[in-house]
Symmetry: C2
């Protein structure tokens, strides 16, 4: 078993209403950042784990996202290997 | 004024206690992901904006992070240009 770091990025699917992003957009406008046109807030989970190889590390990441980290009805996710 | 997309990544400083990450770590362990050793949750703001040039776009991003998006006492941030 070797040490790996993976990154799981979770974001809302196209068309899903995201009140947090809208609130940040409105707050930035109020702070005079008038040139802001759109804000999206993604979540980024950095996970250190042990695995047999890179493939297994990414595979574990996909399982974690499906089971816990992402709401797959409303969100998409991407798993990436950061370091081996 | 041209369109740019910037990305602002906000993460806790080293040594700051992050209960959300700890809770996710514990939940993953309970779901039988025993090989997980550490979890960190970062925030990623994707911002579409208008600016004169790339330098101004990144500069605006730094101001937004300082004024609203990051708690600079506990968090670090990085601003990156994603697309011009």
């Amino acid at each position: 078993m070797k040490n790996f770091q993976i990154q799981i990025r979770v974001r809302f699917k196209e068309g899903i209403l995201d009140p947090q992003s809208q609130a940040i957009e409105a707050a930035l406008q109020k702070l005079q950042f008038k040139s802001v046109e759109k804000v999206a807030c993604d979540k980024l989970f950095m996970i250190d784990l042990k695995a047999e190889d890179e493939g297994q590390a990414v595979q574990l990441g996909r399982q974690m996202a499906n089971q816990l980290l992402a709401n797959v009805v409303m969100e998409n996710f991407e798993v990436e290997l950061v370091s081996a």
